[in-house]
């Protein structure tokens, strides 16, 4: 089991780096507002797939990276990502038993929570941003989940030690 975990995390680090790049890649303003929360998606998938041991540390690191890259107060994205990882880990039982379309619906509130925490942190740090566009990524993240899930399932190492 430990080798499986290690191989999981061997994939997690490049996946997180790719997610950070996708989160910051330059896009036209409209697409940029619709950009899904890539890092939350990746961490959500890993929380669903692995047993969550030691997932909090990479998620905190990714959160700090996001904070530095977006120049938000340090800790903002860490809070949001920690909540995503914890909630997904708690819901794993349901997620395993549900078909893909149901997991998509079950996870939608988690992406909403993620956006809400960022929205709350904006308020807490007195950053009076226009709040309406804050919720667009929730839609795109929800839509992207099944697609990303299928792709990552294909990429997953097939040999599962039993």
């Amino acid at each position: 089991m430990t080798t499986s975990i290690r191989s999981q995390y061997l994939m997690l680090i490049p996946a997180l780096i790719l997610a950070l790049v996708l989160q910051t890649v330059a896009l036209p303003p409209l697409l940029s507002a619709m950009r899904p929360s890539w890092v939350a998606l990746i961490l959500g998938y890993w929380a669903y797939r692995s047993n969550g041991v030691g997932l909090l540390l990479p998620s905190a690191a990714a959160g700090l990276c996001l904070d530095v890259m977006f120049n938000t107060a340090l800790g903002t994205h860490v809070v949001a990502l920690t909540v995503v990882v914890y909630a997904t880990l708690k819901l794993r039982g349901f997620l395993y038993l549900s078909p893909l379309w149901q997991t998509t619906l079950i996870l939608a509130p988690i992406w909403l929570l993620y956006s809400f925490i960022l929205f709350w942190a904006d308020g807490a740090t007195l950053h009076a941003a226009a709040p309406l566009a804050r919720w667009l990524p929730v839609i795109s993240t929800t839509v992207l989940w099944p697609l990303m899930f299928l792709i990552l399932q294909l990429l997953r190492p097939v040999t599962r030690p039993r």
């Binding site: 890649v25 909090l56 905190a60 990276c65 890259m69 340090l74 860490v78 950053h127």
Partner: protein, 335 residues
Amino acid sequence: MNTLSGNTRKPLFQRGSGLGLRAALLLLLSIALLAVDHRTETFDPARNVMSQLLAPIIWTSRLPSTVSAIGNYAQTRGELMAENEHLSESLLRLRARTSKVQALEAENQRLRELLSSSEQIEDSVLVAEILATNQDPYRHQIVLNRGTGDGVYRGQAIIDAYGVLGQVVRVLPDTAVGLLITDPDHGVPVEVNRTGLQTVALGRGDGQGLSLPFLPGNADIKVGDLLVSSALGGRFPPGYPVGEVAELLYQPGEHFMEAIAYPTARINQGRQVLLVWSETVQSEPGITETVPAMPAAEGTGVEPKAATAPTAEQAGPPKPLTPATPNTATTAPEQ
């Protein structure tokens, strides 16, 4: 029941031990970090180190725009010639205007001397390239390729060819982060060019507009008025265009009205910007962050005034804070 072996009693899904406790601890820690980082600058060195470590990721995320820029190399000779012709034409036109401006500046200087008010008109500037724009739609920021090595200081004004773009909020050794005037955290003191009315233009956060809140209900301001930066606060060099009033929001009977303006600077359109050194900021005692930054800049030998600004003639010691001009003194209470 006693036939069940120990193995079957294992939980189906194993969780990490004390996951909830660890998550709660991490949450508390990061909320504390958030509070401290929001209020103090304790973690700024750590942030600077991290942003240098993350530079490859920023660089990678710029690749698509770099690749599309490579497509520009494949321009035809005809296009380039037409562009060249257009540019030399506009250069000629601008040169003619500049020669006129020089005469006007000299005249203005003489008149100001007569009024015994000292104000510098020419600012020294440095061209900086935009390395990246912040992709968070709620934060309008740009990363520039100039840092402390070039004498860039926090609070320095950023302009482009058409007006004020923003100010520097974070300076790293080789790069600087600039906050655009459209960011909701940004405010720039402005003056209505037509009447001299002083007010503050705040970013609206939609990436396009500026808001001028709390104007008196009877303020003399019209759609189409040009807003120029004012010297109030000493952060921005005065006289650069900031925006043009596009809309007035006034409810009859209210005490205040709000004006919506659009920046004259080409936000998110250029690749290059200008960093302006304004003398008043360097010597202002109130802005503590900028004061230690300037000796360091002079110590590096990169003398921004002499090296980059052919127009800068005042290379003398920094002037003391300019006294308020009669104009600002009369109009300031209106805001």
